[in-house]
Structure formats: C-alpha cells, structure tokens
Amino acid sequence: MFAYYLDLALRSLKRNKLLTALMVVAIGFGVAASMITYSVFRAVSGNPIPDKSAQLFTPQIDSWGPQQNLQGEPPEALNYVDAMALMRARAAKRQTLIYPVELSVLPGGNRDLPIKAEGYAVYGDFFPMFEVPFRYGSGWQAPQDQSRAPLVVLSEEFNRKLFGGADSVGRVIDLGGNEYRVAGVTRHWNPVPRFYGLFGSSGFEEPADFYIPFTRALDLKINTAGNNSCRGNIDMHGWDDWLRSNCVWITPWVELDTPAEVARYRSFLEGYAADQQRAGRFGWAPNVRLRDVMQWLAYEHVVPPESRISLMVALGFFLICLVNTVGLLLAKFMRRAGEIGVRRALGASRREIHVQFLIEAGTVGTAGGLLGLVLTAVGVSGVGLLFRPEIARLAHVDLSLVGLTLAVAIAATVVAAFYPTWRAAHVQPAWHLRSN
C-alpha cells in the first residue's frame, strides 16, 4: 500500500510542478537556514567537558568591594594574594591556578626565524582535573610545582612543529629565553569553549601550544598574555608591586566531587573572605561565588549574541516556511476534492485518505530535506562570511547534522500536513459526486 500511495504522491506532485517546487524550496531554505545557524550555535554553546562539568568549579572572591566590583558581582579572576591563599589552603581535592602566557621559540631545525607560542602557566593538577589526554609522557606532580621545576607539556600540534611528532619527552627546549625539559606531549585536546581560560579570550582559539608550571612562570616573571584588571589608584613600579596590587589576572579552578565537598568548599571561601574582613584587608562582608563549568560559561556570556540572534531568526524563518507549506498543501489537497470523493465513495476509509496524504507530504518533506542538506553543506562551508573566523571554523557538517536536517524537514512537513489532510479526509463524497 505504501508503494501505491508513494506512486500516487509522485503523480500528484508532478501534476503541478510549480506548486511542488515552491513547497520544496520553502522547506529546503527554511531547514537549511536553521541548520546552518544551529551548527554554529551547538559548537559555541556546547559542554566542553561533559563528564566532569558538574565537578569543576571556579571560585570568585570579591577583592574590590561593593563600590568597585562588577555591579555586585566579584571580579572574574583573582589577584595574586588571594590566588596563592587558595592554593596554600588546599581545601579541594584538586586545584590549579591558570594564566595565559606567550613565549618566543628561537630558530632551530628548519626554521631560520623565531616563532611565537601560546600556552598556559598551570599547576600539575590541571592535567588530571581536566582529563588532558597524553600521547607521550605525562604532566607533573605537586613536588615539581613546589620545586618550581623547569618542565613543559607540549600539545600534539606544537610537538609536531618542533619535533616532527616524535616522542620528545626528556628533550630540552628554549621558550622565551629559558630552558624547559619536556615532561609530556598531549593528544589533540581543545575543549570548546575554553572554559578554563576566558579571562582575556573569547574561548574559541586554536589549541594551546604548551603548559608550564605556574610557580616556574612566576619565578621567571613571565607576564600574563591575558587580561589584567585593576581598581583605584595604582602605585606600581614593577613586578613585585603588581603581585601585591588589587589587579586580577589569575583564573582558579577546583575539582569537587560530591555536593558535600561543594558545600564545604563554599563555606571555606566564605570563611576566607570573612578572615580577610577581620584582618582589615577587605572592608566589606564576604562576597564569593563558586560556579561550575556550565554556570561559568553562561555567566561569562560565551555564546556570541550574533549566534543566538541568527538561530532565533532562522527558526522564525523556518516557521514561516511551514505556514507557507500548510497553505500550499491545503490548496493542493482541496483541489483534489473530487478525486477524494470518488475514493471515499468506492470504500476508502478516512484513515486511508489520511495515510495517502501524509505520505504525499512526507515525500515533499524528503525532497525539501535533501535540498536543505545541499544548501546546509554550501552554507556551512560559506559560514566564514557570516561569523568570526575562529567561530566559523567550529561549524561542520557531521552525520548527526545530516540526520537532523532530514528528520526535521520530514517531521515538520508531515506536521504541517496534519490540518490539510484532516480537511481532505473530511471531504463529503456525496457533494463532490453530484457535480461533474
């Protein structure tokens, strides 16, 4: 029966090519616009570390006070004093401080000019906390943090650039005029959005080149390549003044596995801020936050507004295409009232009329979906015209997007066909048999 109805559908669609084409084009464009913008949106709004996002938290401490903070919210990073206090307290299972650094790599191998490398200064806990996968070697441990060891972990991409992809563990490289021994090489690892490094970046960069011990970076007075934000009168004459200042530039992350641990850490933060108030360092009541990965991404508005607007407008566009399809299907089906009357008179049930016309709608939906798929593929490859390059590069067509495009197109068209089909099934046979 399905094959017969399909045949009927194709005949009917062929009868009025223009109307059919119009429906297919409307569905195709509607679904493609939605899918193109969705492919960008899902990339920028995704969970960068799905299995641990609820166990990773970034503590915030208001070190600026109610008159200078961010409209009641604490600053988005820590100053050096508070950051070191959190590390010393060791109140979480794992914890790290992070700041971005940029270092030069001197000529060597087949390069005759120095190049720039971008990385992060981190604690050893960074690697197990964020589940960084390793190709060779490993990260470092707490003793190396304490001994301020000159170690480095390279990314797979950077290792390829420097060592042609060979196992470089134990080799020594020069970064920014200082030597580091390679402790490990990661596999490709680039959580998007880069939740742990949002202070001074959009979160959508290429993978980092390297990671060095935070303690070592401080010894070498390596400046932050990210944001640095200060309040009040700044009396600063060099590195040590900067460390003592209220300037925030360090991002802390902690791992807390159970709700009890989270509650305990929260009260630890409150207690720390209260201690600072008692000591006279803060002239205000404790104002702290402890956000997990998804809360942090939402708070930082990581999803670019244009991505959200585009998705909303595209969905509105799709909705209009569907309303359009409802109207055209209605016209198409009702034009065949006579034919329906004959079928009903010859014994076809309403259910059979329903099935017949829904199959016809499904055929239109499939054709629209296929057109949509082509347009989506073209659109995603041209998405660089519409979004910043670093974001456009995240959009790609994969199997799930192909499936979704087809499923959405067919489902939407069939849903759009419900009303016209219902009308067709309720055609009064007698009325139509009387004329003609």
Partner: protein, 410 residues
C-alpha cells in the same frame, strides 16, 4: 467596491485566509526586526575612526630574545628611525595598541584623586611625538608632546604622565563647558594629568557593546612602552604607496635585527584589513539578516501567488456568473486585489504587534536596542505592496475567465 461580499466569500475560506494573514504577520515581525538589526550593524561598522585609514598599516612586532628594558628601548628607537627613513613612509610611531584592535588598555578617569566612582573610562594610547602625524588625527586645541616629555615605561610600571592629549569626546565628557585645555584629571593615580592638547576624533581600541557609553573617549600618553611582549609600530605610508611601504617596512625591521617575531600571516596588516576583521561579526550578521529577509519575502510572495491561484481555480464558475451578470474584467481584478488587501491588512496589524513583541523579547534576552516605529511602518508598506504584487498575476488570470464559464456545469 463592496467589501461585504468579499468578507462573505472569505468566510468560506477561513483556513486559507488565516494562513495567508499569519504568514504575512510573521514575515512582517521578522523582516522589520531584521532590517533594524541590519541598519544598526551597518551604522556601527561605518563609524569613522578619525584616522587616515587609507594610508595606514600596523606592524605587530614581538621581541624574540629576553632583553632588558633598556635594550628594548634602544632597539625600538633604532627600528623607528629605520622605518621613518623608508622612501614610501611618511611617518611612524610606536604604540601599545591602535583603534579597532579590540580590548586593550583603558583607565577609569576621576576628577579628584579620592573619588571612588569613575567619571568616565578612557582608552590609553602610549606613544611618542610622532603619533598625531602618523595617525593623521587633527589637533584642534593645544599642542603636541615635546620630545623631553616622552619617557620610557616598563612592564607593570604605572607611570601616569603629568600631561596628556585627549580626544574631543573625552574633553567634553570631563569639562562639558568646553574649558578642558589646561585642566587636570586623574587616571587611576594620586597625581593629576593636565590636558595639553585636544584631537578632534580618535576611535578607541574596543568598539564592542561594552564600550558604547565611552565611544571616542581616548587619551595619548607621552610614553614608550618597553615590554618583553613587544610593541606595535603604526606606519603611515605616502599616498598611493601603501603596499610598497608594507613590504619595505618588514624588510627594514629584519635588517635591523632578526631576533623578532612578525607573523608572516597577520604580522603586518593594512588598516583596511584591520577594519574588516574588527567588524566581521557585524558584517556577517547584516549579510545573514539580508539573505533571510530576501528569501522570506520571495517565499511569502510565492505563497500568496499559490493560494490565490487555487482560489481562482476554485471560483471559476462564480467568476463566470459575475461576468455574465455584467461585471467587467476590471471589477474582477479589483475584487481579488481588495480581497488580498483585506487579508494583508489583518496580517500586518497582527504582524506589527508581533514585531514589537519580538523586539521587546530580544531587548530582554539579547540586550538589543528598542526598534523605532518607522521600521514597523516601512515593513507594513513593504508587505502590503508585496501582497498586491503577488496577487496581481492570479487576479489578472481571474479577470480573463470568460462569462461562458457560468454555463459549463450543471
């Protein structure tokens, strides 16, 4: 023309009528919001920077080996001297940043050293006596820096200068009565900075929504920034020699020293490229909205053509009867046009409400601005015209139905 019979006929086509009206309403809601977004983005990306963009380029120069601040200062001066001697170069200046670069250095400004809440926020440009000529900004009051006022400034050193040049926008914000020249302000410092010059217009480094309240508020400090991370060289080519100067400049710097990093890809950027990059999301959004608007109008128009054609087909007999009873072709044509006008009219009324609602929702969710009423009015006119245009062909076909049609059946 009688409206009553048209309404009576529409009652027999409730579903189709509602669908066309709904489609027009939704289209109006989306199109006028999209037009508003396009207009805003285009206005934003056409804002002038106030500098001689056509002849400017920027070199992102990073130091490769670890140098002392004295060494950096010496190398920078040598680089600048070499750049300024190039035949294609008019002038060159060092700077911590440049307009449209994106987030960089800005300071809170207060009128007294003890004031806690800021008066405003100003972008900070650190450079020497050459910056004004290099950028091509116009000094409208006061004077440029003197060479003896320029001092080197190292990493994490806040050497707030005793004198600064400010933009007209900043001067007006600090001293609305126009008396800014010679007056002091405080830039996160206990010591005052005196305004010695005012430039007409200079864009900030950051032009995102965050800094909209401080647009064009910037100041120039007489400071050479000796930072390990590097420095920007802003270079103004002689008219028509931009490309030559860009090539010459890279070569000249590497001839000075090879221990530097100038990215082969975007280490030397013309200002046109900088502008293109700074506004790519604005331009992209405008393009996307434009495409969606255009396709939407086509699809809505085509939908009206389709449904009206169906109605014409259905009513051939009735049309024939009317023609047989003496209605002219003109009458039939006008009938369908009026019918469409009534449906579209209902649609745009609903659409106007939806459009304002959508705008309010976007204001809440996405912090966009309030859409001025003319956008809705323009949208209404566009959709009414679209409806009339779309209905014309089927209506014309209806008007050609011969009176003999009335006798065809039964």
């Amino acid at each position: 023309m009688q409206i009553q019979p048209i309404l009576a006929a529409l009652r027999h086509h409730k579903a189709g009528t509602v669908l066309i009206a709904l489609q027009i309403a939704l289209t109006l809601a989306i199109v006028c919001n999209a037009l508003f977004i396009i207009h805003q983005r285009v206005a934003h990306l056409s804002e002038p920077t106030g500098i001689d963009e056509a002849n400017l380029f920027v070199i992102d120069n990073e130091w490769a080996d670890r140098l002392s601040e004295q060494q950096i200062d010496a190398q920078m001066q040598a680089d600048l001297a070499a750049l300024r001697q190039l035949p294609g170069v008019r002038d060159a200046a060092p700077a911590n940043s440049y307009p449209l670069r994106g987030g960089d250095w800005d300071d809170f400004i207060t009128m007294t050293p003890d004031q806690v809440q800021k008066t405003t926020d100003a972008a900070v440009y650190l450079s020497d006596t050459h910056l004004i000529d290099t950028l091509g900004v116009k000094l409208v009051a006061g004077r440029n820096f003197r060479p003896d006022e320029i001092e080197p400034m190292g990493m994490r050193e806040q050497k707030t200068p005793p004198v600064a040049i400010v933009t007209q926008a900043l001067a007006d914000k600090l001293y609305p009565d126009g008396s800014a020249l010679g007056k002091p302000f405080y830039a996160m410092s206990k010591t005052p900075t005196t305004i010695i010059g005012i430039v007409r217009r200079l864009q900030r480094q950051e032009v995102g929504s965050w800094s909209r309240g401080y647009a064009y508020e910037a100041m120039l400090w007489p400071r050479r920034l000796d930072m390990q991370q590097g420095i920007y060289y802003i270079v103004r080519a002689k008219p028509g020699q931009l490309q030559t100067a860009m090539d010459e400049a890279r070569k000249a710097l590497f001839a000075q020293s090879r221990m530097r990093i100038i990215d082969p890809g975007d280490g030397v950027l013309s200002f046109a490229a900088i502008r293109h990059r700074a506004y790519d999301s604005d331009r992209g959004t405008a393009i996307l909205m434009g495409i969606i608007c255009a396709v939407l109008l086509v699809i809505t128009g085509a939908g009206i053509v389709g449904l009206t054609s169906f109605w014409v087909g259905q009513r051939r007999k009735q049309i024939g009867i009317r023609r047989a009873l003496g209605a002219t072709r003109q009458d039939i044509l006008r009938y369908f046009q009026t019918e469409n006008f009534l449906i579209a009219g209902a649609g745009v009324v609903l659409g106007a409400i939806l459009a304002v609602g959508l705008n309010l929702w976007m204001m809440r969710q996405l912090a966009t601005d309030r859409m001025p009423l003319p956008y809705v009015l323009a949208g209404i006119v566009v959709l009414l015209l679209l409806g009339q245009g779309a209905v014309f062909t089927p209506a014309l076909r209806a008007s050609r139905v011969p009176p003999v049609e009335a006798t065809r059946s039964v």
